[in-house]
């Protein structure tokens, strides 16, 4: 499934002619795990009051969410072609009012975790047992607003909140550790009073187990630091920060095929990988 979603992402981005490649490909396994194993949700009833909520803080990776939602039955796969086009429900960055099933509007970095935390607090006030998940990126942790939310969630002991950080070590201007070193994120979160779980973000079983474990933590919010490979599944994109904000067919990078061939090569690789996508960490 995660591989089908990766192919959907490549097709969507090529059709749109713009958008982010690396992040969505790197997060395909996590979104697959969430929508097909972890979340308690009803694709045909996106406003079901008891649904688990998934806040996407780093809105720019939304193609992976759209593709996964379509595969999960929220809307027809055909609609994925409309990404970023005029009149589409699939805006370049997610807009809650446009597409049922998006919990919030995001894109400008740093404000999703606060919303997820506020939402978790409100659900607890109402005795609603639904769980709140929030996906953030590592680069997003440059934003002060994130750390304000980290303090807030710990203070309020939001045990109904699970945060997943896409630790892919890249951002637009280069490696995160050069742009603005984040250092030991696990130690930082632990020092802020969170329960920290670190996983390989391409190991399906590890993702599901971590989400289960997070539910069992008492007195603390839980963060899953998921180590992912940006561009995962497409050789010429993996680890290369140039593909953070560009779709196939738009860039010449060392080792990449000519522009005209890039989409074809990416799809071919993803089609033939089959079960071979597995983590370098394993």
């Amino acid at each position: 499934m995660a591989n089908d979603i990766r192919q959907d992402i490549i097709k969507m981005l090529v059709e749109a002619g713009s958008g982010h490649s690396a992040g969505p490909l790197g997060m395909a396994d996590i979104f697959t795990a969430l929508y097909f194993e972890v979340l308690n949700h009803r694709p045909k009833q996106p406003d079901w009051p008891e649904r688990d909520r998934l806040f996407l803080s780093n809105g720019h990776i939304v193609p992976v969410r759209y593709a996964t939602m379509a595969r999960a039955g929220y809307f027809p796969l055909e609609e994925l072609k409309t990404l970023r086009k005029f009149g589409s429900r699939l805006q370049g960055h997610p807009e809650r009012l446009r597409l049922p099933g998006l919990e919030s509007t995001s894109g400008p970095l740093g404000s999703g975790l606060s919303q997820a935390a506020g939402h978790a607090l409100a659900l607890r006030m109402d005795g609603n047992k639904a769980r709140v998940y929030c996906i953030t990126s590592d680069g997003e942790h440059d934003e002060g607003n994130i750390w304000e939310a980290v303090l807030f969630a710990a203070k309020n002991k939001l045990t109904n909140l699970t945060v997943i950080i896409d630790r892919n070590n890249i951002q637009i201007d280069g490696p995160t550790e050069q742009v603005m070193p984040l250092g030991n994120l696990a130690a930082k979160y632990a020092a802020f009073g969170w329960h920290v779980i670190e996983i390989d973000g391409h190991n399906m079983q590890a993702i599901i187990s971590a989400c289960d474990l997070a539910k069992a933590i008492v007195e603390q919010p839980a963060v899953i630091i998921a180590h992912t490979i940006p561009g995962k599944g497409v050789d010429y994109m993996e680890y290369d920060y140039h593909w953070h904000g560009n779709p196939p067919g738009t860039l010449e990078t060392p080792g990449a095929p000519p522009k005209a061939e890039q989409a074809k090569v990416a799809l071919h690789e993803l089609r033939t990988l089959g079960g071979r996508i597995r983590s370098e960490h394993e």
Binding site: F55, R96, Q115, G118, H119, L121, A122, N128, N145, A149
Partner: protein
């Protein structure tokens, strides 16, 4: 003539007129809104007493959220709570919220259309000794430009209470501007108030003063003085709701008097003055002048010293009104 249908405070023009900070009315309105609707929650950024959220916090501790000194988190946590069906009121000093967190307000409250009410206290130069950093003057412009955002600047504590209650039942984003210092009570419980409506407090035919917030009192004083010393019949419109601005009332008044003066304790660029200029340019241009802060910052001083220095008093308004009358008659 004072418009009798407005049921204004009979002691309004007396030197002993009762005074109370506008923010106190917000505190009462919030408490009342909390009593009548259990979905109302309040969030504060370490200024619970001075933004008058303390009574709500005491009465409904389980619905009060202390955020600490983190204004970006203040509005984004509120947005998340609103998405779960709450009606959050958030407060801080206006310089910090909506001063510091504008983009979060834009994305997570306006574009996201969440039901968050932002209270900005200590707006205007009358904050006094704290100086320019804490004298918020750009908030009206910042909030007015955002799609879906309602902007309210009540003229006294009673109107602030009514506005706060009204906002609790109004669906959608809103900003309410509050002042620190005590200011005269202009209205009564009987004075009409409606979101989207400007009120003609005093009727006249020679000139219109459109004012908001603390300047409404000075506008009424100036109108009295212009009547007694200059035989001028001045209409005073309270534009407590700056957005959506009551175009019908303002244009009707401009048609009647042929000249419009605006008054606000804020930047005239993009503020109430800007808003009224836009409406008149679109519908019925007349000679106009704007009293307020003219593209500059405030400074430390007593509120009285500062208001006088910047012409934000009755004498300041009278001077500008007489100039405007001259322009009108030369037209």
């Amino acid at each position: 003539m004072i418009n009798s249908q407005m049921h204004l405070n009979p002691e309004l023009l007396s030197p002993e007129v009762k005074q109370e900070p506008i923010r106190s009315g917000f505190g009462r309105g919030l408490l009342a809104a909390g009593e009548s609707n259990k979905d109302v929650v309040a969030l504060c950024a370490d200024l619970t007493d001075s933004t008058k959220m303390a009574d709500f916090a005491k009465s409904f501790p389980e619905r009060f959220v202390e955020i600490g000194v983190a204004e970006q988190n203040l509005v984004t946590v509120a947005a998340g709570m609103a998405l779960a069906g709450k009606i959050p009121f958030v407060s801080s000093y206006a310089a910090f919220s909506p001063g510091r967190n504008w983009e979060q307000i834009r994305t997570t409250i306006c574009l996201n259309e969440t039901d968050v009410k932002i209270a900005g206290s200590h707006a205007g130069v009358s904050v006094g000794p704290d100086g320019a950093t804490h004298q918020m003057l750009e908030d009206i412009a910042l909030m007015r430009v955002l799609p879906r955002m309602m902007v309210v600047a009540p003229c006294d504590a009673i109107e602030a209470e009514k506005a706060t209650k009204a906002l609790a039942s109004h669906k959608g984003p809103a900003y309410i501007r509050l002042a620190r210092e005590k200011s005269p009570i202009i209205t009564t419980d009987e004075t009409p108030f409606a979101l989207g409506k400007a009120q003609v407090l005093r009727e006249g035919t020679d000139l219109t003063i459109v004012a908001c917030g603390t300047m409404v009192y000075y506008a009424l004083l100036a109108a009295e003085e212009l009547a007694s010393s200059h035989k001028l019949d001045v209409e005073v419109v309270n534009a407590a709701v700056i957005k959506p601005l009551d175009t019908v009332t303002i244009v009707a008044s401009a048609r009647k008097t042929g000249a419009v003066l605006t008054a606000e304790e804020a930047q005239i660029n993009g503020g109430l003055g800007g808003a009224v200029a836009e409406v008149l340019a679109d519908h019925y241009p007349v000679p106009m002048a704007r009293v307020g802060m003219v593209d500059r910052f405030g400074e430390s001083g007593t509120p009285e010293e500062l208001l006088e220095h910047f012409g934000l008093t009755a004498p300041g308004l009278i001077e500008r009104a007489l100039e405007l009358i001259k322009r009108k008659s030369h037209k």
